[in-house]
Amino acid sequence: MSPETRREAARRRIAEKRAAEERARAQERRRRQTLVGGVAAAVVVVLAVVVVIAVQSARTSTSPDAAVPANTTDGGTAFAVGPADAPVTVDVYEDFLCPACRQFEAAAGATLAELAADGTAQVRYHPIAILDRASTDDYSTRALNAAAAVADAAGTEAFLDFHDALFTEQPAEGGPGLTDARLVELAAGVGAAGPDVEEAITGLVYGDWTREVTDAASRAGVSGTPTVLVDGAPLQDRSAEGLRAAVAEAQEG
């Protein structure tokens, strides 16, 4: 090998070594960039989680001195019909926009009234608002708020009449609900009239209360409507006969 070619080979080796070092440096730079980017992204995500949790907590919190309607029972969450010392307790969780609730009321509403009237059972109505997504104007919440206004102004009998009227006039899911004006009319029709009731309905005075009772039902394990509990046990057959049978069984047991 001539000195010339040997020198060339040496030069080539040096150039290759430099190129390899350059590649290694570039790789290291990229690695560092990716690491910095990754840490930054992780910090942003963590911050976003913290901020969103704080914001959503604020949105879901209810005022501690939120208005609670009069004539309620069970910690302000229910409207009771029938004697408190009745042998059986029936809890009914309903949403005024829920079609299955209307069907249940049509099938067994009269039976519930009879059971309460003859002292066999105390029926505790727990109206809740879980279907706001299913109307274009938060009808579940507005209807529940109106029912609270009626109960507050005119008592549980008026509440029950209003409750029946709301199921009779139940709007279809997916569209607008009854207007506030119609809710005020229906309230007046069951004996809850006047500027206070009107203000409570249009001003959503019991808005926080509607969220509190809905949350309370969720915490109590109610994950759908209608949920009917006979002495705490879920009613499977929600027909009039099914209800009578379950109440009779609870009475014996």
């Binding site: 590649r23 960039q33 990716t34 989680v49 969103v52 907590s57 879980i130 969720s218 915490r219 994950s223």
Partner: protein, 160 residues
């Protein structure tokens, strides 16, 4: 293959973006949906209900944009495994709930549960996420080569 990975990124990312975004408008419903699974202690219900959508949106954005694709795909796969566990356990326990995967959730009338469809969807998405974690290289990725460099596609090795 790179274009297949691009489509996979968009599909998986799009689903996560939608799932996260739809849970934000109604935080009360989100809390009820998480609680309905009856798996978490009460103090954890709200943080999970509020924090999970953010994670889903972050994963969705990363996948759609094409940054940190492998990491995002791994997180997506982990979340899907958690979702499958939740839905599977609700099914096994006979709970009548909607998965709440895209907002809402919790409430569902008897006989209106959709567990088989939910499981099939999550398993399909899990397969996509795992494939992306294995082969994250794709076209139209903002992160380009260096963000997800693997030994086989690193620029350095292609330099002559």
């Amino acid at each position: 293959m790179p274009w297949v990975a691009t489509v996979a990124r968009w599909v998986l990312g799009g689903v996560f973006l939608a799932a996260g975004a739809l849970k934000l408008p109604d935080p009360d419903a989100a809390v009820r949906a998480v609680r309905a699974y009856r798996l978490l202690p009460e103090p954890l219900v709200a943080p999970v209900a509020f924090g999970l959508p953010v994670l889903e949106i972050a994963v969705g954005l990363a996948l759609v944009a094409g940054v940190f694709v492998r990491t995002a795909a791994v997180v997506a796969a982990a979340l899907l495994v958690v979702f499958l566990g939740g839905v599977g356990s609700a099914w096994a326990r006979g709970l009548q709930i909607d998965c709440g995967c895209f907002g809402g959730g919790g409430e569902v009338a008897a006989g209106e549960t959709a567990y088989p469809a939910e499981v099939v969807r999550d398993v399909a998405l899990l397969a996509v996420a795992l494939a992306l974690a294995r082969w994250p290289g794709s076209r139209l990725a903002l992160g380009g080569r260096h963000a997800e460099a693997t030994p086989s596609n690193e620029e350095g090795e292609r330099v002559p």
